[in-house]
């Protein structure tokens, strides 16, 4: 049976249009994984030398074990945000002669092969090897230690799914988890209960008396059993497989009427953003865009680099523009056929999205005014970037949308979701930020700050003045690719 499942998984992966169309993206992800792995291996070796330098004559295994509490906590946090239980389309299997327990065991077993579970090993094993190469006396202790790391990794893996299962039913799934994690950290930090000691001593005890390894093994087994029970309950159509019906959140959007003939589209776009997971997370990500400058400006080194101002300005005022704009018109791919058979003016449809993007740029700029704290020149640079975003980037990104041929499933989340992303999105996304940055950087260097600012603003204003003409040109592009878009959007992604 497992053989059949593996076969199905294989086909599902390689036959998905997503894989076939996005080979380049997959290669990129593989490189990223290799990079992380190399980073961890080096980290493992480096950890030894680092400890040797700082605390030369102490038991390095004991020191590392002491800090394992932080690793467990961090690992859980990381997994909570990143790792999801692997999905398997179980519905067609339910009526077939397959035991439910086989399905559950398979899903859980599959989760054990997650990349997240291998990463710690890339750190732990090089560390252990370096340790023994430098003549650590107790080889069994090292072996036991690696073994413990493996067990803890898998325990975190299964514990995470339990946490997810329970927090998914809460209205604010993040909050309790964060509070508990912060609480544990706090208890430890203020030495009310020292988890670092408990776990550190525990690990050391096991490395010295291998028989104690049974305890973490027991915990792992228990966590697996709990997961097994939880999943088994869910394998019924009326439990989790059935999609949840949510109550409508209706809000009064009559204020959009002031935008005249594009009001129906504005209402549609606002509901689109607010009522779908993927768009909603895009909207929430705006906060990150807004705070992006805080990664750089507090450090004098970056504050001196004037060309960075333009980049951060474009990025933080245009975050929504870029993230939302690059998927026009794929956001509407689900019902594109209907829109095309309706009596709509394409130009109105696009203008509604344009106004939405412009509004976001203005709002982001206004919210970003406090950046003036880091210098008024930064604020001016942001202002110029905002004008450039409105006048140039907004049009460029909508023009790029006419090359969009990828359907988007609105119900999937946004982080690490590459659905709908194609080469065009990358090609367009990069110049949106790089061109103004390079332009600003060069002019600033050659002719001074004022000229560089003036150029960005002028370009933006030219775009705004030519708005009508540009929109006409863009609309025509969309009309020309109408049939291709309809055909592409009717395919399942």
């Amino acid at each position: 049976m497992i053989k059949h499942f593996l076969n199905l998984e294989w086909k599902q992966y390689f036959r998905s249009p997503y894989w076939q169309k996005n080979l380049a993206l997959n290669i990129l992800l593989v490189f990223f994984a290799l990079y992380l792995m190399a980073f961890f291996v080096l980290g493992g070796v480096g950890l030894y030398y680092g400890l040797d330098e700082l605390l030369p004559n102490q038991d390095k295994l004991a020191i590392v074990s002491k800090y394992m509490f932080y690793w467990i906590l961090g690992d859980l946090l990381f997994r909570f945000f990143m790792q999801k239980l692997p999905v398997m389309s179980v519905k067609p299997l339910l009526t077939l002669p397959v035991k439910r327990s086989t399905v559950v065991n398979f899903v859980l077993g599959k989760s054990a092969f997650s990349f997240f579970n291998f990463l710690p090993l890339f750190l732990a094993i090089p560390f252990a090897i370096t340790l023994s190469a430098y003549g650590y006396p107790d080889t069994t202790a090292i072996l036991m230690w690696v073994f413990i790391v493996i067990i803890i990794t898998f325990s975190s893996n299964f514990l995470n799914f339990i946490i997810e299962a329970y927090s998914a039913e809460l209205s604010v799934p993040l909050l309790p988890f964060l509070i508990v994690a912060a609480g544990l950290y706090g208890l430890n930090y203020f030495e009310i209960i020292s988890f670092t000691d408990i776990i550190g001593n525990g690990v050391i005890a096991i490395t010295q008396n291998p028989i104690f390894i049974l305890i973490p093994l027991l915990v792992l087994g228990l966590l697996y059993m709990v997961n097994y029970k939880l999943l088994l309950q869910k394998l019924y159509l009326d439990a989790s497989l059935k999609t949840k019906v949510k109550d409508v959140n209706a809000s009064d959007l009559s204020w959009t009427k002031r935008f005249g003939d594009i009001a129906p589209f504005m209402q549609l776009d606002l509901r689109l953003i607010w009522r779908n997971k993927r768009t909603k997370s895009t909207a929430f990500l705006m906060v990150i865009g807004l705070l992006y400058g805080l990664f750089f400006y507090p450090q004098p080194m970056y504050r001196e680099m004037e060309f960075m101002w333009a980049f951060i300005g474009i990025f933080s005022t245009g975050f929504f523009l870029i993230n939302f704009g690059q998927f026009i018109p794929a956001w509407d791919s689900g019902y594109y056929k209907m829109l095309m058979s309706q009596n709509i003016k394409y130009e109105q449809y696009l203008r509604s999205k344009f106004i939405l993007m412009v509004m976001s740029v203005v709002v982001m700029f206004v919210l970003g005014i406090p950046y003036v704290y880091f210098g008024w020149k930064i604020l001016i640079a942001h202002f110029a970037a905002a004008i450039y975003n409105i006048g140039v980037n907004s049009h460029v990104i909508m023009w790029g949308g006419s090359f969009n041929r990828k359907k988007i499933d609105l119900d999937k989340k946004a982080a690490f979701n590459y659905q709908g992303t194609g080469a065009v999105q990358w090609l367009i996304g990069i110049p949106l930020m790089l061109v103004p940055m390079i332009l600003f950087g060069i002019l600033n260097w050659l002719l001074g700050f004022e000229v560089a600012i003036a150029t960005l603003i002028t370009l933006g204003i030219i775009g705004i003045v030519l708005h009508k003409k540009l929109m006409k040109f863009i609309t025509e592009k969309y009309l020309n690719s109408k049939y291709k878009m309809i055909a592409a959007f009717s395919k399942d992604a």
């Binding site: 409508v248 209706a250 209907m338 095309m340 609105l410 055909a487």
Partner: protein
């Protein structure tokens, strides 16, 4: 009203539709039947300019549909559930379509209130998104949305599928009224021979993309259609032997 001339559609050299001449006069209730892959949906998609014809053209009210968009104000359609916007409630969807077709909220409300029986209390005022409705209820919402704005041509692809028996009977009455009393040109396709013969004055049978029968509905039509499709079932089972 709708004139089809020499139209054909091929994908990679394989012809899926070829109609030399087909005229549908105003106010006719027109039924399209045929097995899977016969070209029914392809024909409707061509009518709505959702796909580009390989040759030929379709004119609706003397407007070539692939050249101008002026046919859109008097044409409406419900082809499948991708015509619905999943994250809207039925009411919001009706108002949206109404906005596009120049109808205000009151107009839309007046229209939808006529369909309370048809909706069976499961569509309006339920505070549910369209994506969360059952297939049958989605279909009901889509069909009624196609009636908004007094269209002169209504195109419905398989409107009877997924509907419960009561609703099927109600829908038949609605479609008949539209053609007979309001002079609307109604185009439906169906696999249910009984329903099409009940609703449509004229029935065209497509087979492998070509028109093989063009019948004026009369009391013997149903038997004739059944005989036609039974014949191809028998001949194909003979081929297998």
């Amino acid at each position: 009203m709708i004139q089809t001339t020499d139209i054909s559609k091929s994908y990679n050299g394989i012809q899926v539709l070829k109609i030399d001449e087909l005229h549908i006069p105003k106010g006719q209730s027109f039924g399209l039947v045929g097995n899977n892959g016969a070209g029914k949906t392809t024909y409707f998609s061509l009518l709505l300019d959702l796909i580009n014809p390989t040759t030929g053209s379709i004119t609706s009210n003397d407007i070539v549909v692939s050249n101008s968009e002026d046919w859109k104000p008097f044409t409406s359609a419900f082809i499948d559930e991708t015509f619905l916007i999943g994250y809207l409630t039925p009411e919001e969807y009706f108002y949206f379509i109404g906005d596009l077709r120049g109808q205000n909220k009151a107009d839309v409300d007046a229209l939808t209130s006529q369909f309370e029986d048809f909706f069976n209390g499961e569509i309006l005022g339920k505070k549910k998104y369209l994506r969360d409705l059952s297939k049958g209820n989605q279909k009901k919402a889509g069909i009624v949305a196609a009636l908004i704005g007094n269209p002169e041509v209504i195109i419905l692809d398989e409107p009877f599928a997924n509907l419960d028996p009561t609703t099927q009977i109600r829908l038949k009455q609605i479609l008949k009224d539209l053609a007979e009393k309001q002079g609307v040109t109604v185009l439906v396709s169906s696999h249910d021979l009984l329903h099409v013969t009940d609703v449509c004055e004229r029935i065209v049978v497509l087979e492998k993309g070509e028109v093989v029968k063009d019948l004026e509905t009369n009391p013997t039509t149903l038997r004739e259609l059944e005989a036609h499709f039974a014949k191809s079932a028998i001949s194909s089972s003979e081929e297998e032997e």
